[in-house]
Symmetry: C2
Subunit: 231 residues, 2 copies
DNA sequence: AATTAGATCTCGACT
DNA sequence: AGTCGAGGTCTAATT
């Protein structure tokens, strides 16, 4: 990885054309050739970039650019598309390279799939007397996250989301309409379970007779591992 | 902006929990306090990060961490949410700071809106004898980019895209179906105009009797400004 | 402030 | 390899 601090200007053309006027910025050249241009602010998105696979070559700047103060021109071209990034280097403040080796990568926890797993083994959270029929219950329009049966014999379809928004309610509604046509399942109740439920989504769900369940991920995980300590 | 190369491990908790095992990485601390952890690969998204507003404080590592080789612990907390990022610094390879000053930011050009403007004043590009009815012609399912009338009296609906793909053709098709039901407009012809049209999209469009027009942005802009020089 | 739609989206899973 | 859905989405425009 090459890390450069430089006064530079840049031009991108590809899916759009964009321009960066002269300023001091951080330029990162990764070992796969990809390039990131960062300013000292904003969020994690670079001002401009080129993703792999791509190649970087340094060429002499045009006479016009040189008379404007450019010392070098970096041309980065994507290997498969027409994307092209040109960086006019005016002054290099710092230029270092480091061998980082390979990275073990990010290990995630707490995704929707995990919520689903936890819920499947703690069905009581979704309602008293519920028993699991199966997870990812297949239907013609896609799998229902959790299908359960209540003590009253009724079928219960559960949609699990990290953040519950209206489109999740719409999705569950479509499943309910479909499942309710199956005489072996009908009548089917709906449960919308999420760590966070937007007011609009809650209103829509309740208006359609769908019960909302707010999930506490830490509590679910704590119950799972039997680990109730606070930390 | 502080640029650090360090052997580190990290842990994030917030909307999810995630872990980075020990490896050498690039850590960027921006002047607004935000932090990015990059590996030497992938694209512009960091392995882990914290966006502003947030604060970084360096504390002594726990005894356990220290015995594992940690030299320092950076705790980054978001000012408004519960997001929290902890970086265990094991070995600092490089640590430099630079004052980048403010950045003029990215200037975009060639957006769909601009193409639409240019086309609206150069309707001949879309077909002979066309005259503009209006841009962003409203319908129940969304605005049609350009509505025009041909010399033969027929209505023409134009969908403008930078890159023409199948979903753009589908979108135009829906507009055409809707507009064609209006006796004041029917029959309605479709034109799919884009700087680049994918083969799949072209095939689908032509199969539906939709004419495809490949746009030359530079030519459109040149004609607009009356500036025809090559450069 | 809150909501919506677009993104040079990225990223992973699945077909 | 393409397609689909989710994202710690982010970002800007609009209400």
């Amino acid at each position: 990885m090459r890390v450069v601090i430089a006064r530079c200007a840049a031009q991108y053309s590809g899916r759009l054309t964009a321009r960066l006027d002269l300023a001091t910025r951080l330029i990162i050249v990764k070992s796969d050739g990809s390039v990131l241009i960062h300013s000292d602010g904003g969020s994690y998105k670079p001002l401009n970039w080129m993703g792999p696979p791509c190649s970087l070559r340094e060429v002499a700047p045009s006479e016009e650019a040189a008379s404007g103060g450019a010392a070098a021109l970096w041309v980065i071209e994507h290997a498969k598309t027409e994307d092209r990034l040109e960086i006019e280097i005016h002054e290099i403040v710092s230029d270092t390279s480091h061998d980082l080796g390979s990275d073990p990568g990010l290990v995630k926890d707490g995704v929707e799939a995990h919520l689903q797993e936890l819920l499947a083994s703690q069905m009581a959270v979704l309602g008293e007397g519920l028993s699991l029929v199966r997870r990812e219950y297949p239907t013609a329009i896609g799998p229902v996250d959790i299908l359960a049966r209540g003590s009253n014999g009724r079928t219960v379809a559960v949609e699990v989301k990290r953040r519950g928004e209206v489109d999740g309610v719409e999705q569950l509604t479509r499943y309910l309409e479909l499942l309710d046509r199956d005489p072996l399942l009908s009548p089917v109740e709906g449960v919308f379970a999420a760590q966070e439920i937007k007011p609009q989504a809650r209103t829509l769900a309740e208006d359609r007779g769908i019960r909302c369940v707010l999930l506490d991920y830490d509590a679910l995980r704590g119950a799972e591992t039997g680990d109730h300590r606070l930390f």
